[in-house]
Point group: C2
Chain length 419, copies 2
C-alpha cells in the first residue's frame, strides 16, 4: 500500500506556518512499512484541493488529508472530498450533538458555523474527536480500492487520530498484521560517518539475514548528536520488544561510551540520573554560555534534587569576587579550575562544573574565537579540558554546553569515563 | 507568474528532516507578489522527480527545485531536469575548476564524485556558488515560456542563491520592475486579535486606497510575540524606503509601547540598547528559569558591556546565602524584591532583575504551577510584579523569561513604561 500526504492551508504556502505534520506522518508511515512517494501542500481552494486528492489517488492507494476541517468558511476539505467522491454532504446528528455539548459544557453559545463540522460526505466513516470539535473521516472510493483519510491540522489532534484510527486502518489494508516498534539510541562525540563505521559489520549482517526484522537508521541532529534508530517488525508486541532489547544490547556494545540515552532522554537527563545515583549535588559556573548549562539542566522536572544553581559570571570582576578566580587571564586552564572549585564552594555543591571561553565575534585575551576551557571539581579529583569549537557565536555556545555536560557524564560515578 | 516549490529528498518523506525550505521560499514568493499554488516533496527517485517537475510546469510558469544537487549518487536533480528538457548533461569546465580549487584550498583531495556537481543540462544558465560547491541552475523549457530553477537544499546556500538569482529572474518575468521591501515590527503583550483591532482602521484605509502600495500582515510567533509585517511596493528603492518609514511611524503610533524592535531584534536587544543608553549594568537572579534569562541576554554580541552576570539560585539555601533572601516562602513578593536587590549587590550591577516561581509539574509552597514573581531593583526604585502563566513547564519558563525582560524594558530610562 502506498499513501501520500496532503497538507491543506494557504498559511503553509505563504510560509506563515512550517508544515511539521507531513514529516511526522511520513515517519509514522515508514515505521509501519507503508511507502509514501509524495507529500503535497495546497491552499484553501476547493477546486485545487479536489484536484490534488484526485492526483494522489491516481498514484497511490491512499491519501491522508491534513487540515481544513475547522468551522470557518476557509475550511473546505469536506467539500473537496465530496466533489472527488461525487456524493453530497450530510449532517451527522451525533457529531452535531457532540459539538453542541462541547460548547454547552464551557457555558458558551455555539457559533452557527460550528455545525459545518458535523457535515460529512455521504457514506464516510467518522473518526470521533476526543480533544477538539472537528471529527476525522475515512472515505472509500466507489471502486472500493482507494481511501481518503481526513484529519485535523492541529498537531495534537492529528497525531491522536492518526494513531487511533488511520494507521490501524492502513495497516489492515497493507496485509497481515505485525507489530513495528522503534527505539532511538542517542550518541554524542562521534561524527555520523564514525558511528556508521562502527556499525558497518552489524548493518552488513542484518542485510545478509534478509528476514531479520531489524533495521538501523542514522540521523544527524546537530547539538543533539547522532541518533541511531532501531526499528523491528515481529508478529507480536512481546517478540518485537525482545528483538529491540537484543538489538539495543548489540549496538550499545559496538558504540560504547558515546551512547548517553534513549528516545527523548537528553544529555541533561543522563547527568541528572548519575548525580542522583551518586547522591551528589551540582553547582555550575558559566561564562560564555551565559546560563545555557543551567537552563538545560533545569529543563528536567525534579532537577532541584541534584542541581543547586549556577553562577553566570559574565564579567571578570564577578569571576574574581564570587568564584575566587585569581589574577591572570580568565580564559585559561587555571581560571576554569578555580571557577569549578569556586562554584562548588559558593553554591554548597558536591560537584563543580565550569566553562570559560571565547564565543566571539571578537577574540579575547589573545585567544581565538572557539577556545573554551571546561573545569571539573569532583570530591577528591580536579581536572580541566580544552575545547576548540568551530562555527559562529551561537553554535559555539551550544556546543560548549553539550560538550561540558558530556564531559561531566563521563567522569561521574557510574559514567563511562573516556574522552 | 505562478511558481511551485519542489523539495527533493527521501529524508523529507521519512520525516527525518522537516522541510523548512519550502515555507521560507513560499514567504519570499509572496513578498514579491508571485503566486505559489502547490508545494511538493518527492524522494530521491529520478523518474518521480522528473514527473513532479513536468506536473508542476503543467500548472505553473515556473518551479523551484530545492535539494538533490550534491555530490553523491543520491543527488539526481540534474539528471531529472535533463530528462524533462530532453537534453544531455555536459561538464561545465569553470565549475569543475572551482570545485577542484575548493578542495585544494583545504588541502584535501577531491573525491571523484564531486565532479558530478560540474555537470549541467545543456543550455542551462549556471548560478555560481559562493558558499559551498553545488551550483544552482536556471533552465528555460524549449518553448521558452517555462522555467526550472534548481538550488541546493542546504538552507544558507539556498537562501543566498534565491535572493541573488532566482527571485530577480522571476520578478523580471513577472513584469515591470518594481521594488518590494518589508519590515517587521516586533510586539509583546497583546494577543493577535488585539493587535488586529488596534490596526483595523489603518487596514481599512489601506484597503480603500487600492494603489497604496502598502500591505500589513500579522504573524503569531509564540514566545517571540506577534509580528506585524509591513510590505511596500514602489518604482524605486528610495520611494519604497520612504513608504516603509511613513508606514512604520503610523503603525507605531497606533500600537504604542508594545512594539519592542524591528526585524531580527529580539527583546534582549531592546533591553541591551536601553541599558547602554542609560550607562547602567544589569545583574540577574533566576530561580525557575534556571539560566534562560542570562543565556538570552548573552546571545547579543557585546552584551558584556551591560550584562554583569546572573545568579541561578535553584535551591533555597543558595537564595539565602548568595542573594540575602530572608526567612519565609521563596515564591513571594518579598523574596522577589530581596533577590533583585541581592543580584545587584552580589554582581556589582546598577540594576537587578529577579524571577522566582513555580514551573511545575508540582505546586510549591502551596502556590499553583505558573505563579511567578518578577522583581526589579533600579537606582532609586524597587517594584515587583506577579504573573500567572498558563501551560506546561517549558512554556512557563519561556514566558516568564520574555515577560520579565519586557517588564525591565518598560521601566528603564527611555523605555515606554506602562504594563
Amino acid at each position: 500500500v502506498r499513501c501520500e500526504v496532503l497538507a491543506i492551508g494557504t498559511e503553509l504556502l505563504l510560509g506563515q506556518v512550517v508544515d511539521t505534520n507531513s514529516a511526522w506522518i511520513g515517519e509514522q508511515l515508514a515505521l509501519v512499512g507503508i511507502d509514501s512517494h509524495l507529500h503535497v501542500q495546497v491552499g484553501d481552494n476547493r477546486a485545487r484541493i479536489a484536484t490534488a486528492i484526485r492526483d494522489a489517488l491516481d498514484r497511490s492507494e491512499a491519501v491522508i488529508c491534513c487540515g481544513g476541517l475547522g468551522p470557518t468558511q476557509d475550511d473546505i476539505t469536506r467539500e473537496a472530498i465530496s466533489d472527488v467522491l461525487g456524493v453530497p454532504l450530510e449532517l451527522h446528528e451525533s457529531i452535531a450533538t457532540r459539538i453542541a455539548r462541547f460548547f454547552n459544557a464551557r457555558g458558551r453559545e455555539m457559533p452557527r458555523n460550528n455545525l459545518r463540522q458535523a457535515e460529512v460526505p455521504q457514506g464516510a466513516t467518522v473518526i470521533p474527536q476526543v480533544r477538539g470539535t472537528a471529527p476525522g473521516l475515512i472515505c472509500r472510493t466507489p471502486t472500493g480500492d482507494r481511501t481518503i483519510y481526513a484529519v485535523p491540522g492541529v498537531p495534537a489532534e492529528m497525531r491522536e487520530m492518526l494513531e487511533r484510527a488511520v494507521l490501524p486502518d492502513l495497516s489492515r489494508q497493507a496485509g497481515p498484521v505485525s507489530t513495528i516498534l522503534s527505539r532511538t539510541l542517542r550518541t554524542w562525540g562521534l561524527a555520523e560517518s564514525a558511528v556508521a563505521e562502527r556499525l558497518a559489520g552489524r548493518l552488513a549482517a542484518l542485510d545478509a539475514a534478509a528476514a531479520s526484522g531489524v533495521t538501523i537508521a542514522f540521523l544527524a541532529s546537530g547539538i543533539e548528536g547522532i541518533k541511531v534508530r532501531l526499528t523491528v517488525k515481529a508478529p507480536t508486541r512481546e517478540e518485537a520488544i525482545a528483538l529491540l532489547d537484543a538489538e539495543e544490547a548489540t549496538v550499545r556494545e559496538l558504540l560504547g561510551a558515546v551512547v548517553f540515552g534513549i528516545d527523548d532522554e537528553g544529555m541533561e537527563v543522563a547527568v541528572g540520573k548519575l548525580l542522583l545515583g551518586a547522591g551528589w549535588s551540582l553547582g555550575v559556573a558559566e561564562s560564555l554560555t551565559g546560563g545555557l548549562v543551567g537552563s538545560r539542566l533545569t529543563q528536567v522536572a525534579g532537577s532541584s534534587e541534584w542541581f543547586r544553581g549556577s553562577i553566570v559570571a559574565y564579567s571578570s570582576e564577578v569571576k574574581r569576587k564570587l568564584l575566587g578566580v585569581g589574577d591572570g587571564p580568565v580564559v585559561s586552564d587555571k581560571a576554569a579550575r578555580e571557577m569549578a572549585a569556586g562554584a562548588a564552594a559558593a553554591l554548597g555543591a558536591d560537584v563543580g562544573l565550569s566553562l570559560t571561553g571565547v564565543a566571539g565575534p571578537a577574540e579575547q585575551e589573545g585567544q581565538p574565537v572557539g577556545t573554551v576551557w571546561v573545569g571539573l571539581w569532583l570530591p577528591g579529583a580536579q581536572e580541566t579540558r580544552l575545547l576548540q569549537l568551530p562555527g559562529a557565536r551561537d553554535q559555539i555556545r551550544q556546543m560548549a554546553t553539550i560538550s561540558a555536560l558530556d564531559y561531566l557524564r563521563r567522569r561521574l560515578p557510574g559514567g563511562p569515563g573516556g574522552d
